[in-house]
Symmetry: C2
């Protein structure tokens, strides 16, 4: 059975909640379950059977593509109260690509498996529409990521990454190795190391083991314009 | 007023046709209009006001992204009886990116402007769902294109392009300049020229002004595997 706070989260996060029948509400309340993922766990990949709809209770999930030779391209991240439907792609007719989802931090989620969600989506057009609208929203996020990858010069991309990390965590110290940053922004470690060295020489950042400290936020931000 | 063949095309192409009210059918029949675009015309870009839903009657449209410095990345193409909804992105809540659409050949289209289509989508959930489902389908196409661009080596991409062109036109002669091919596959002319020279030396293709002839289809195809 769901905790009261989980039920409240469901009601607030699913815009179709008021358009469910009492039976459908009961069905979701009975079938939804909580889960905890440790940092760096892979929640979802092409091999794991269609997982279902994931609602993030806390932490951060990273959604990415994986190349045949193991290169990762981050598409977007999901934070508290974000919902992932691509992990239930078996109930979306037109999704034919594979994505991967990792826990970027320790995460708590609320999940509804594909069969249960699919049943309700099949019965209730509002639920089905929600799933496709959410997928379309992710489409926009992916296009944004692709524009960064394809069109921005690398100094801009790296600067933008550092600025966004700092803004998001409200902290000028970013704890990540060059290898991790390279994965997150779809580049190679050597390229990241070289550019960070340049940023450091320019006085934008201070580098130490496993972390980057932003010491001139404004100059770094100017790079991204 | 629409021609009979156009009406038939509407009925066959829009899966929601049977779920429209007689008034909604009349509205679409009255408001839909035919249009002709000459090869290389730009139908749609960030500056042109939200155009509406486009149904391809004949020819080929190319949908692409444009970088700030003018580089084009082809996302997908639309052929006879394909429908474009991203050109009506103003009626889709979650589409926040700009795409561009060119006529790749002389094209005939049937169009419904955004206001008229939006009105029906607002009234009829089947129509709204169709729009989002179609957008989700294009999401898959875009992901496919991105995988090619990000993950395939360039010889594979160019070989795949030539094979697809030949298969699609049922013709081993591909009429295109290196510049045009570079645009279509999101590369630079010099890179295309160099790789085509290699293909030609390997005996896969024969090059002449403004065209590429495939002379060893199988070997070229093997490259794409």
């Amino acid at each position: 059975m769901l905790e009261k706070s989980d039920l409240k989260l469901l009601m607030n996060s699913f815009p179709f909640w008021k358009q469910l029948t009492p039976e459908q509400k009961n069905h979701i309340e009975e079938k939804a379950f909580s889960k905890t993922y440790l940092k760096n766990t892979t929640l979802y990949n092409g091999d794991i059977e269609c997982l279902g709809v994931i609602l993030v209770k806390s932490g951060c999930l990273r959604v990415y593509m994986l190349s045949p030779d193991g290169r990762e391209i981050t598409l977007y991240r999901l934070y508290e109260s974000d919902i992932c439907v691509l992990s239930a792609s078996c109930i979306l007719q037109n999704i034919t690509f594979d994505i991967y989802i990792d826990a970027n931090t320790d995460c708590k989620t609320l999940q509804i498996n594909s069969t249960d969600f699919g049943k309700i989506a099949h019965e209730n057009a509002h639920v089905e529409l929600f799933a496709y609208k959410t997928a379309t929203d992710r489409f926009s996020k992916v296009m944004w990521a692709m524009e960064q990858i394809l069109f921005m010069s690398f100094d801009q991309r790296l600067a933008l990454f550092l600025i966004e990390e700092a803004d998001h965590s409200n902290n000028y110290i970013i704890k990540a190795t060059h290898e991790q940053i390279a994965k997150l922004i779809g580049s190679a470690r050597e390229v990241v190391t070289r550019m960070l060295k340049y940023f450091s020489e320019e006085g934008f950042v201070r580098l130490s083991r496993g972390q980057i400290e932003i010491i001139d936020y404004q100059k770094l931000k100017n790079l991204t314009k």
